[in-house]
């Protein structure tokens, strides 16, 4: 597989009036990668995404998609699918007409019924878009993005408003596309989706990267957490911990395995029950919370 980046962004700047939305941002997305662009509200990720998708011109800096300018629609768009954050379908067209129209305009070929089946909208094919629920509209949007199996797919908040079955179905389809080599750029507020699936994450804050790297690179900088409740009174704990008035214990550690082993041994020796015991790696949520602290 080619290692030339699918997306190259170099020193991208974007200003609206005197508001500097994106500051000197550089990153690349490699073929076959799932790259998650995450950030706090107003961090500049939508602005960045709109430049990369070709909807907005950068104030300065260069952006290349498949080696072309992103607004070179003829060259770029047939190879990429876009799921917008807000739907943008005509309420008076049916689901089948909408998929057919947008599909044809991408210059890719596919079977509308196959795509509708993929997102479980076959039963809604003849309905007008105005009669769809919010979740169904998201699925319609996803259908147009994956029409013709493009090499690059932008998913902007793909699972917002979807029930758990639809969410799983979306990810099953994305997994299948990735097995065939598709590159995915994702933004989401469901951090566990990014944590589970992203190869790399660009975490934006105030127009620039707060951090960029793999999930473990991002979480490694923060301690893992062990939580449980202790019945009172209990013997002294073998590790450093914070205990609140209700007996809830929080242990922060960079040596999760060792400290957990110590704790379990200690509990066994003293016949103490560690109620509601939970231990896990640092979550992206914690990385997010640490941005402002």
């Amino acid at each position: 597989m080619s290692t030339t980046p699918v997306i190259e962004v170099e020193r991208l700047n974007l200003t609206y009036g005197d508001f500097h939305a994106v500051k000197d941002l550089s990153f690349e997305v490699r073929p076959g990668e799932l790259y998650a662009l995450l950030g706090t509200n107003g961090a500049g990720k939508t602005s960045t995404l709109e430049v990369v998708e070709g909807h907005r011109r950068p104030t300065s800096g260069t952006v290349r998609v498949f080696g072309h300018r992103p607004d070179d629609r003829r060259a770029v768009r047939p190879r990429m699918g876009v799921m917008l954050q807000e739907s943008g379908f005509s309420p008076d067209l049916t689901v089948r007409e909408s998929v057919g129209l947008v599909g044809r305009l991408t210059r890719r070929t596919d079977d509308v019924d196959r795509v509708l089946d993929l997102v479980d909208l076959t039963g809604r094919a003849g309905r007008k878009v105005s009669q769809l629920s919010g979740g169904e509209k998201r699925r319609l949007d996803f259908a147009t993005a994956v029409y013709g199996t493009p090499e690059l797919i932008f998913l902007d908040e793909p699972t917002t408003g979807l029930d758990i079955q639809s969410r799983d179905a979306v990810w099953t389809t994305v997994d299948r596309l990735r097995e065939n080599g598709a590159t995915i750029v994702l933004t989401t507020h469901y951090l566990e989706e990014a944590q589970q699936r992203a190869d790399r994450i660009g975490l934006m804050h105030e127009g620039a990267f707060h951090r960029e790297g793999t999930v473990s690179e991002l979480t490694r900088t923060l301690p893992a957490v062990i939580r449980f409740s202790l019945p009172a009174p209990a013997p002294a704990l073998p590790v450093r911990a914070a205990v609140d008035a209700d007996g809830k214990v929080t242990v922060e550690t960079f040596e999760l395995q060792k400290d957990l082993h110590l704790l379990l041994g200690w509990a066994q020796d003293h016949a103490v029950e560690l109620r509601d015991l939970a231990a896990g790696p640092t979550r992206l949520d914690d990385v997010f919370r640490a941005i402002n602290s």
């Binding site: 998708e53 909807h55 629609r73 003829r74 768009r77 047939p78 876009v82 917008l84 807000e86 739907s87 943008g88 379908f89 005509s90 309420p91 008076d92 067209l93 007409e97 129209l101 947008v102 044809r104 305009l105 991408t106 210059r107 007008k128 147009t144």
Partner: protein
């Protein structure tokens, strides 16, 4: 482009409000003028009726419908959606406007044919076609510019008023009072020269070369409208 155009046509026929403003109202107004052609020919001339027909369809069927369509497609982000595909901006606009344009041309042709059948045909058909096409081009340009100032389809009911009422007033002013007085003013205001051209084509009696000079102000308005549109037109709603 043709995919967009055919989907637009479907949408026009599914949306009752658009169907009424773009087809029924102009058709009803024109039918009235054709039926009462003797009365209006006495006030102005048959050419005046032809000009009123052209401007009624161009103002309501074409201009107001085009502005409403563009504002509504922008408001529900359909324009952004189309711009996420491989289609270029010119193809998108052409696709969106083609059905409205075709409907307007078909209407004008049908009503003027009816007028010709009941009251006698135009003196110079080719010149009439030129007059209609110049008017249509001007109204499309003005529609693109007005769409830039229009936030929603509801808002279009207000923003289209100056041009719709303005050009119809011009058609009546020029059609009834002629261009003996205030000739330059009448010819320079949008719709004035086009009305005179339409009347010359229908009534005859004016040298074709003189009539063709009347194209200049109308084409000038096309240039002004397109220049305004390129500054004002927006593809996405204001946030």
């Amino acid at each position: 482009m043709l995919s967009i155009a055919s989907s637009e046509l479907i949408q026009i026929f599914r949306n009752r409000l658009v169907l009424i403003t773009s087809l029924i109202i102009p058709f009803a107004v024109c039918a009235f003028f054709v039926r009462q052609h003797e009365t209006y020919a006495a006030i102005g001339s048959l050419g005046y009726i032809a000009a009123i027909v052209v401007f009624t369809v161009a103002a309501f069927g074409l201009y107001a419908t085009a502005v409403t369509t563009l504002a509504s497609r922008r408001q529900n982000l359909f324009l952004k959606r189309l711009r996420s595909t491989a289609e270029g901006d010119a193809g998108i606009l052409a696709g969106l406007l083609l059905p409205v344009l075709l409907l307007a041309v078909v209407q004008v042709t049908a009503i003027l044919t009816a007028l010709a059948v009941v009251a006698g045909g135009p003196a110079n058909v080719a010149l009439l076609v030129v007059a209609v096409l110049a008017t249509v081009a001007m109204m499309i340009g003005l529609a693109l510019a007005t769409a830039g100032l229009t936030n929603s389809p509801e808002h279009a009911q207000v923003t289209t008023l100056p041009v719709t009422l303005g050009v119809i007033a011009m058609a009546s002013w020029v059609g009834i009072s002629g261009t003996e007085n205030l000739a330059w003013l009448k010819r320079l205001l949008p719709g004035g020269a086009a009305t005179e051209l339409t009347m010359n084509a229908w009534n005859g009696g004016v040298a074709v070369t003189d009539s063709l000079l009347l194209l200049a102000p109308t084409l000038g308005w096309v240039v002004v409208a397109v220049a305004l549109a390129s500054r004002l037109f927006r593809w996405e709603p204001r946030r």
